[in-house]
Amino acid sequence: MTKVAFAPDVFTWPAEEPQLIGSRCSVCQAVTFPRKPSCPRCGNPDMAERLLPRRGTLVAWTIQGFLPKAPYAGGETEETFRPYGVGLVQLGDEVRVETRLTEADPEKLRFGMELELVVVPFRTDADGTEVVIHAFAPTES
């Protein structure tokens, strides 16, 4: 079965230990996700690619409880849709990324909990291609 990333240049793939692909400003060292053409802090157009830490802590979160409209591309219907978690995750002292979480139960999410990047199934296309997406999973259960 072919596995493809849902979008290019978001995370390293295929990779045993995938990492999100961000960028860092050569002048003020600000780190962004994803890669940006210029620095949002100082405007410098010289940004270098930076692979982001794979582990982080949960700063804030919600549960997406309804099926988003297009351009959402998860492929579910109202009947098959299952809520998913979305969180702001701080990666080291570099940057916070807004990302899917593998956990969608409010009882199991805690502010400050440790998370790790994983690549999980997103949808299966008509030709059988399995499309995968990045998400953060709790490291403790």
């Binding site: 849902f6 919600t62 997406q64 409880g65 297009a70 351009p71 591309a73 998860g74 990324v97």
Partner: protein
């Protein structure tokens, strides 16, 4: 710089109106505002029109009269109406004109807004991944705020319960049916901790104001309301905002805080002086957070204030006396001028069943929306 007065306000009800166009609603609001000011459209020297769905709000002049005046179209997210108001006021402040109109109108489909994420400087995959949702942002922000500052789920329900009761008193509101707190809390969870009834709905409507140089206001009215300050601000580095795929580790406060400080300073008025408050309540949590961001209380104090009924029409901090966005919905271009309409009615003592007691003298309005833009206006008698 000249002072600016509001001498007329008009509104087309908010809700859903079948085939009626946004332009027709806009014209109706302008006619009402002109009638309120005792002027005719031909007296209007210039106008700014705000809308999200209407490409050229200036089409409204084809219904009002093709007088050839300059009419400028603006769009600035949820701060569109605040922007139209500020630009109209500025043109008078700097002496270019004496009298003008700010109008806002919109007609949205039901359901959450959607668009191309790249127009918001977000990556295109952000929408495909299911993150390009304003409701998700508001869920994340209030969830963290509740955790940090001890706000309960019941307090979110109190906001909605109050807004809908105020909506019952407002004949122009979209939602005019009260809901008890248990029903609000027990409704479908859209974005934890926010349930279905805790969000406003995009809908339809229009509102308009007539502004003039303050020294000529008495030609039109015996009770002018003065626009003491308008301030617009965008997000700074470090603020986590709507449609952000990332944020800096070092946090900065939201753009509302900067707009609010600038408006207070320009007006020479502090939050303790304000008698009637209009806050952007895209969701119940936003009203709670915006109470603090605009200086009306400390973070976390809302829990006690709402339990005491402080934000009720008869309370010491009346918030969204016309039901706010939760009862009125949000036709983006019109929403901020609906706020001004309500404040003017309150400050003139013309708010009927929802009149704030004690002759309120100072009104305050705040807008906030994607991609991190805020507008604040301060009005006085």
């Amino acid at each position: 710089m000249h002072d600016v007065a509001i001498v007329g306000v008009g509104i087309h009800p908010f809700g859903r109106f079948g085939p009626k166009s946004a332009i027709e609603m806009g014209a109706q609001a302008v006619r009402a505002a002109c009638a309120d000011a005792g002027i005719s459209w031909s007296d209007v020297q210039f106008a700014f029109g705000g809308s999200n769905e209407v490409d050229n709000p200036d089409a409204v002049i084809s219904l009002l009269g093709l007088t050839g005046i300059p009419f400028m179209d603006v769009y600035n997210g949820c701060a569109t109406a605040g922007t139209a108001l500020e630009l109209t006021a500025d043109a008078i402040r700097y002496g270019k004109y004496e009298l003008g109109v700010a109008v806002g109108m919109d007609k949205h489909l039901p359901g959450a807004f959607t668009a191309d994420p790249e127009y918001y400087s977000a990556p295109s995959w952000y929408g495909e991944a299911g993150q390009f949702l304003t409701t998700k942002f508001f869920g994340i922000k209030i969830n963290r705020y509740m955790h940090d500052h001890g706000i309960s789920h019941a307090t979110l329900a109190k906001v909605v319960n109050k807004s809908l009761r105020n909506g019952v008193l407002n004949p122009n509101a979209f939602r005019r049916k009260p809901l008890d707190e248990a029903t609000i809390l027990g409704a479908r969870m859209l974005n934890y901790p926010l349930t279905q009834y805790m969000f406003c709905s995009p809908d339809e409507g229009a509102a308009a104001v007539v502004l003039c140089r303050a020294d000529i206001a008495h030609r039109y009215t015996s009770n002018p309301i003065y626009l003491r300050a308008t301030a617009l601000r965008t997000r700074r580095y470090g603020a986590y905002e709507v449609h952000s795929s990332w944020a800096a580790v070092e946090e900065d406060v939201a753009p509302t805080v900067y707009a609010s400080r600038a408006a207070y300073e320009a007006a020479g008025i502090g939050p303790q002086d304000v008698d009637v408050i209009q806050l952007q309540d895209t969701d119940a949590g936003a009203e709670i957070i915006h109470m603090a961001e605009n200086g009306f209380c400390a973070d976390g104090e809302q829990e006690k204030l709402l339990a005491e009924g402080a934000t009720e029409i008869g309370g010491r901090l009346p918030v969204n006396t016309d039901g706010g966005l939760i009862a009125n919905g949000e036709p983006i271009g019109a929403s901020g001028l609906r706020q001004i309409h309500e404040l003017v009615r309150q400050l003139r003592g013309q708010a009927g069943d929802r009149q704030v007691p004690g002759n309120p003298r100072v009104g305050y309005a705040q807008l906030y929306g994607a991609p991190g833009t805020a507008a604040v206006s301060i009005l006085t008698t």
